[in-house]
Amino acid sequence: MKALDRKLLRDLAGMKGQVAAIVLVIAAGLATFVMSLTMIEALKRSREAYYERYRFGHVFASMKRAPRSLAERIAEIPGVARVETRIVVEVSLRVAGMNEPAVGRLISVPELGEPVLNRLHLRRGRQIERGRGEAIVSEAFAEAHGLTPGDGLHAVVNGKFQKLTVAGVAISPEYVFQIGGAGIFPDDERFGVLWVGYEELAAAFDMLEAFNDLSLQRMPGSSEEEIIRQLDRLTEPYGGLGAYGRRDQVSDRYLSDELAQLRVMATAAPSIFLGIAAFLLQIVVSRLVASQREQIAMLKAFGYTSAAIARHYLMFAGVIVILGATAGVCGGAWLGRSLTHIYADYYRFPTLDYRLDAWVAAAALGIGLAAGLGAVLTAVRRAVALPPAEAMQPEPPPAFRTALVERAGLGRLLSPVTRMMLRQIERRPVKSLLTVVGIALAVAVLVLGNSMKDAIGYLIERQTAVLQREDLTVTLVEPRSDRAARELRRLPGVLHLEPFRTVPVRLRSGHRSRLLALSGVPPDSELVRFPRAGAGFLEIPQEGGMILSAKLGEVLELGLGESVEVEVLEGKRPRFRLHVAGFSEDLTGLAAHMDLGALNRIMKEGPAVSGARMRVDAAALEGVYGKLRGMPFVAGVEIKTAAIRKFRETMEESLLTMQAFNIFFATVIAFGVVYNSARVAFAERNHELATLRVLGFTRGETGWILVGELFLLTVLAVPLGWMLGWVFVVLSARGMDTEFYRIPAVVYPSTYAVATFVTLAAAGLSGCAVFGRVRKLDMIGALKCRD
C-alpha cells in the first residue's frame, strides 16, 4: 500500500467518531432512497403482474339496464379486445356480530367457468355452484367479519332478506382498495364486494338476459378516448352512466396515488439527508485541509503533483461515501423488502416481486459520490492551490475584530472568554452560518417527520367537526319525495336532519371531465359547510351555481364564475351549464354542491331526496340503527365515528410506517450535525484552549468557549429550523395532494417542541462529549506541536 493511502486510512481512523456520524447520515439518506425506490418498483411490478394475470379491464361503464345483445355491438368497436358484461348492484348487508348495516356490492359472475375479465384470485374455498345461493366474498370484508367458507350472511334484496352462503374468499384486481357507497376511504367493515352467480342475481333484480355494468380490454395502440366516446354513444339509450378508463377507476386511482405519495417520500427525504451529509463532509474535509496545510506543503515541496493531492483528499470523502453507500444500499434493501411485504399484505397482492436492481444500487452510489465529492471540491481546490512556499510558513494569526455586541457597548458585561466566543463566531460568518443551517436542517427534518401525524389529526378534526357535522348519513335505494325525509326525521332521537339529493353527472370543461355526484343541499345547511380560502364559509347560492372542491377546479382547470357543462347520467339525462359560484377548500374527495331546490328544478322533479344527514342523540344511536335497518328504502348508513376510526387506521398503515423511519433518521442527523460541529470546533481550537488552561483558566471556563458557542449557534438554529421545517411540510403537502385527500400543511406547537427538544438533547450530549475532551486536554503537548 502506498504511504499516502496509509495516511488516508490513519486519518480516517483518527476521526472515527466524525466519520461514523457522516457514514450514518449518508447511509440513512441512501437507505431511504433505496428502500422507497425498490419498494415502489416492486409494488408496481407486482401490481402489473396482478393486473395482467387476472385480466384487469381497461375501460369500465355502468348503465341502468341493457340487453345482452349490446355486448356484441360493443365488441365491434374498433380497438376493443374483450368485453365482460355483468350485473352490479349495491344492497344492504346484515352480518352476524354487527349492529350497523353494511353495504354490499354484488357482482355477477358466470355460473360456469371464470369471468373473461377481472378474474378472481381465490384465497380460500371454491368457486360458486349454480343455484345454491352462494357467494364469493372479498377477502378484506371476510377478514373484517371473520367470514369463512360455509358461513352465511343476509342481503336485503327488494326489501326482503335473502341468505347467502360463503363459498370462497377471493381478491380481485378491481378491488385492491374497496371503496364504495359515499365513502372516500376503504372501509372493509362496512363495505364489501360479493360475487354471486349471474342467474340468481338476474332473477332477483329482474335483469334476465340483461346487464348493467361492463368492463373491456382494448388492443394495444387503440385510443381509449375514442372507445369511451363510442361506448357512451352505445350505452346512452340504456341509461349509461358514462364510461371511464383505469385513471378514473377508484381502486386503481387510489393505488396510483399512494404510489405517487411514496415517490414523494422517496425523493424528499434522501435529498435532505444527502444535503446534510454533504454539509458535514464539507466541514470535516475543510477542517482536515486547514489542519494539514503544512503536510500538503511538504508533499508539494517533495514533488507530489496537484492531482495526487486532490486525489488524496477526494479519496477521503470517497471512502466515507462508499462506506455510507454500502451500508445504505444494504440497509435500504433490507428495509425495502420488509416494507414491501407489509404493503403487499396491505394491498393484498397475490404475488410479490421484490428485487434490488443493480441500477438502484448504482444510482445510490452515484448520487452519494456526487453529493460527497461535490461538497469537498472547494476544500480540495484550496489544498491544491496552496503555494508550497507560503504554506511552509506558520499560518498567520487570524484577523479578529471586536464583536458586534461589544461594538454596541455591551463588551464590558462580557467575560474575556465569552468575548473570544463571540468574536470567533463573527470572524467566520460563513462557517458559523453553515453550522446554524446544519443544525436547523436537523430541526426541520424532525418537524417534517412528526408533522404527518399533525396533518392527519387536523384533517380529521377539520373534515368531521367543522365541515361535515352529521352523526349519520343515510342513503336511499332510489330518490324519493321529501316525505321519506320527514319519516326519518320522526325517528326518536334524531335531533336535526338535512335531506340531500345526489345526481350522477359528468362535468365537462373543454377536454377535461370527471364523473361524480352533484349534491343538492338545503340552504343554510348546518351540517355541510364549505370553507373559503383564508377563513369563513361560502354560502350556497339560491339561484343555481355550484360550489366545487378547489381540487376539482384545479382538475377541470376552472376559474371562478366560469361555466361547466353538466351531463346528468340518470332519468331523462338532461344537459345544462352551471357556473362556478365558489371553491371550497375541503380536504377530501372531489365534490360539487348546489342548492337542493335549484337542483330539483333543473332535474324537473319535485322535492326529491337521495338521502339525509342527521344529528342523533348519542343515547338513541342504537335505536336509530335498528329502525333504519328495518326500512326497505334505506340502502346504506354511514356512521361518522366509525368512518373516522377507519380513516385514521388507513392513514396510519400507509403513511406513518414510512414516517417512523424518517423520524429515526432525523434523530440520527440531529446528533450527526451537532456532534460534528462540536468536534471540529474543538480540533480547531485545541491550541487556544490549552493555552487558556496553561494561563490558569478553569476547565469550566475553557469548556464554555466551545460549549457556549455550540449553545449559541443551536439557539440561533432552532427558529430557523422551524421555518425550514415549515417549508418542507408545505412542499411535501403539495406532493401529497391527491383527488382523494389533501394532506394539509399543518404543524402543531407540540411538534415544534419535540423537534427542539431532540435537537437540544443532541446538542447537550455532543457538548458533554466535547467537554470531556477539554478535561483531558494535554496542555503541554498541544502547545509544543505547531498545529
Partner: protein, 254 residues
C-alpha cells in the same frame, strides 16, 4: 539521469573550489516582492549567487533578511518577481507549475525547521512517501540507517524526540539522492546537542551523497561547517565568506 535538458556536463571529480567548478544553481538579479494588503514587502531585492556542485553553503542572517525566500526560490517552491534562477543551465522561469513539481520531485530534497512529518505515518512510511515518487531512490530503510535511526523505523512521529524527527526528515530529503539538499533552520527547534547531531547528519549526507547543500540558519556558529557562508540582510547579499577548511559539527558549540 537528469531529464532537465541543457548544456551541462557532470563531473564527479571536480574538486570543490577548483576553477572548473560546475554551477548547479545560478541566481541572477532575483527579487521577490510580496504584496500584503496595501503594502509591498520586498523580501529579496536583486540577488546574484552561484551554487556549485557538492558545495555546502550556509545562508546567514537575521529574521526577515530574505533567507527563506531565497531558499524557496532555489528549490522551485517559489518564483522570483524578477530575475532568473538557472538550474544546470536551464531557466526555471520557463517551467510551468507541473514542470516545477517535476524539478522538485527529481532533484531537490527539503528539510524544514518544524520537520513537517506526517503524524499519521511511521518513520519508514514518511520516507517511503518520497521513494514512491522518485526514480533513483534508495530503500527507505537505508536512508534511515544513514541518519542513525535504523532501530526506530516503525515509530510514529509522536513517539520520536525532536532530534529524531528531524533526522527522519533528513532521511526523507536524502533518500532520493537529490542533486540539491535545502534545509531551512534545521536546528531551529532543537537543543544544542540534538542540533549538532542533526548537522552532522546533514554534513554526512552532503559528503557521502554529493548533494549540493544549502542550509539556512541565524546561528553564526554553524557557519564554520560551510564551504561558503552567504550573509543576507534586508533582502540582499551583504557578503560571502569562504572557509578554507570546514569544521566538523562536533567542533561547534553555541
Amino acid at each position: 539521469m537528469h531529464p532537465v535538458s541543457g548544456p551541462y556536463s557532470q563531473s564527479d571529480d571536480a574538486p570543490v573550489g577548483s576553477p572548473e567548478r560546475i554551477q548547479v544553481l545560478s541566481v541572477r538579479a532575483v527579487s521577490r516582492v510580496y504584496r500584503m494588503g496595501e503594502i509591498e514587502v520586498i523580501a529579496l531585492g536583486g540577488v546574484d549567487l552561484d551554487v556549485f556542485e557538492g558545495e555546502f553553503i550556509v545562508l546567514l542572517g537575521p529574521s526577515g533578511s530574505g533567507k527563506s525566500t531565497l531558499l524557496n526560490v532555489l528549490g522551485g517552491l517559489d518564483r522570483p518577481t524578477q530575475g532568473r534562477v538557472i538550474y544546470r543551465g536551464v531557466d526555471l522561469g520557463g517551467f510551468s507549475e507541473a514542470g516545477l513539481t517535476r524539478f522538485r520531485r527529481r532533484h531537490v530534497g527539503f528539510v524544514f525547521q518544524f520537520y513537517n512529518l506526517l503524524p499519521s505515518l511511521t518513520a519508514r512510511e514518511n520516507v517511503a512517501l518520497v521513494t514512491e515518487i522518485a526514480d533513483t531512490a534508495m530503500a527507505p530503510g537505508d536512508a534511515l540507517e544513514l541518519v542513525g535511526l535504523g532501530h526506530r523505523m516503525d515509530h510514529f512521529p509522536s513517539q520520536l524526540s525532536g532530534g529524531e524527527q528531524q533526522r527522519v526528515a533528513i532521511a526523507r530529503a536524502v533518500v532520493k539522492r537529490p542533486d540539491v539538499l535545502l534545509a531551512d533552520e534545521p536546528t531551529g527547534a532543537l537543543d544544542v546537542v540534538t542540533g549538532i547531531t542533526v548537522l552532522e547528519v546533514l554534513a554526512h549526507a552532503n559528503r557521502q551523497l554529493g548533494a549540493t547543500t544549502v542550509v539556512i540558519t541565524h546561528n553564526a556558529v554553524i557557519a564554520g561547517m560551510a564551504d561558503r557562508v552567504v550573509h543576507l540582510s534586508g533582502g540582499t547579499i551583504s557578503r560571502i565568506e569562504s572557509n578554507a577548511t570546514r569544521m566538523d559539527a562536533q567542533e561547534l558549540s553555541w
